[in-house]
Symmetry: C2
Subunit: 301 residues, 2 copies
């Protein structure tokens, strides 16, 4: 992988707002609507070898704003694939999907062979994106891979409109000295992945041989299964009782209902055999957040 990474001549970062803080001259920052064909034509060019498509309207927002979710999660994904097809150079496309593609009656530990049965508009749109990535790859238009990401925790930055936002907030905000509301029950089991493992996974997903993926380009990524109560216990072990006490348990029934449809544990032999790695401990995840992302860095503590 290092061999490939060293050959990078340009990285274009496209987001709704321009990304900041990059000094590497190879990084080109662009801002625009990912569902605008002109914006994509500018960002995805015939010399674009690889596309990491992470843009999404997240779960709670896609439920609240149906048309916006369809536009960003479905239409933009299709436009990116179509733009890549028109360029004719068969780029690698790494598409981030979600465990929200699953739902309905599920076993406690969800196997790789589970049917797509989303119970949210977000999950529906991600499942459709997966199907497009597989078909565009099968036809040779792109060399795609759709990685079903667990809930990422601990995310740096501000809360977002994902129903899963609390899964980072209950760690991040208390570490910043702020109270954080946990809207789900302590027994709720989450399927988590750290930002470090997510980045490693996206890069590994990019590097693997597309032909090794077989009949579908979708892969359920390996994660860590842990209850929300145990996440807060980790926070207490790593950062102390005065920090974990900043978590306020206040059930939000609507949000709890959405999160309850998300499976909390997976068996991922497909990802394992493809060489994807999982987090081993939530204590380590909390420590990594404090080292990598906590405002002010580890020196605070």
């Amino acid at each position: 992988m290092d061999g490939r990474l060293r050959e990078i001549s340009r990285i274009t970062l496209l987001d709704l707002f321009p990304a900041r803080g990059f000094e590497d001259p190879r990084i080109v920052v662009k801002a625009g609507d990912v569902a605008d064909p002109a914006v994509l034509a500018d960002a995805v060019t015939p010399d674009t070898d690889s596309i990491f498509h992470l843009a999404a309207v997240v779960s709670a927002q896609a439920e609240a704003e149906f048309d916006l979710g369809m536009r960003i999660n479905l239409d933009a994904t299709r436009l990116i694939l179509e733009r890549a097809r028109q360029n004719g150079n068969r780029p690698r496309v790494v598409f981030t999907s979600s465990v929200a593609v699953f739902g309905g009656p599920l076993p406690a530990k969800v196997p790789d062979s589970t049917p797509l049965m989303p119970q949210s508009s977000y999950g529906t749109q991600k499942a459709m994106g997966e199907l497009l990535v597989s078909d565009y790859s099968r036809r040779g238009f792109v060399d795609g891979r759709a990685l079903r990401m667990p809930t990422i925790s601990v995310r740096p930055g501000a809360p977002n409109k994902a129903a899963s936002s609390f899964a980072s907030g209950i760690i991040r905000e208390p570490l910043d000295g702020k109270e954080s509301v946990c809207p789900v029950a302590p027994g709720t089991v989450m399927w988590l992945m750290s930002p470090r493992k997510a980045i490693e996974g996206l890069l590994h997903g990019h590097e693997i041989d597309g032909a090794a993926l077989g009949s579908t380009r979708s892969v359920s990524m390996p994660g860590l299964s842990i209850s929300v109560g145990d996440m807060v216990a980790s926070l207490e072990r790593v950062a102390g009782k005065e920090v974990s006490a900043l978590v306020r348990w206040q059930l939000d029934p609507a949000l709890d209902r959405i999160v309850a449809t998300w499976p909390g544990d997976f068996s991922t032999p497909r990802a394992d055999s493809l060489g994807f790695q999982r987090d081993q401990s939530f204590d380590d995840i909390v420590r990594a957040y404090m080292a990598d992302d906590r405002p002010g860095g580890p020196a605070i503590r």
Copy 2:
């Protein structure tokens, strides 16, 4: 069901070419492009209680003409659902999907719990349509049901561009005194449904309570599992050796490869418990075709 059917005040038939041969004054014939929003606005009105969406670019054509398949199989389905949503009257929508949504490694008898894993653009587009029907239904925009139809045999009329066209042609053409090429091996096992059972199934699918469908609006319909060789043996039993001798076995490797990815047998407890009925014998299907659809009708023979 009869009670509902007697209340019909209007049936609008929309196709690319105007349907002919209807004299019932309640039948309104329209012609137009189903992917044209203006055509749909005219055909699907706020007093439209039920929509049967059967329009499709079939399998081999969707493989050959990717953009056309996307436009008709995906975009038009979405436009119909969106038009219904805008009308605000939550119509019932019966969408015909296909067993082509399945593929990859499959057991000999495919269970209801099989993952969507299409291996064709047609199957991909139908799977995406299913996901839309489920999500639009879950949100209360429509009351949809997506019925995965087996290969319909014996279809009346002319051959079409479906990879499955032979499954009707090898019965229909010989009964019309014409030679018919069978492009797949005699041992190829097909999953079939007669036109009679298809019509019954679409009407039954319309009548069932949407809430009974649970976490997905998709249903794999019950069919008859039979080898192509046994289909021709049925033809011989019912119509004689001089008729079945008009089947010419000439393998088309490309088409045989597509058909080989289609599962030939399903277990359909979900459809069975919902009250869908299956064909019992291919001999009966051949006889029904001769009675219902054969040019000139049963009097020829």
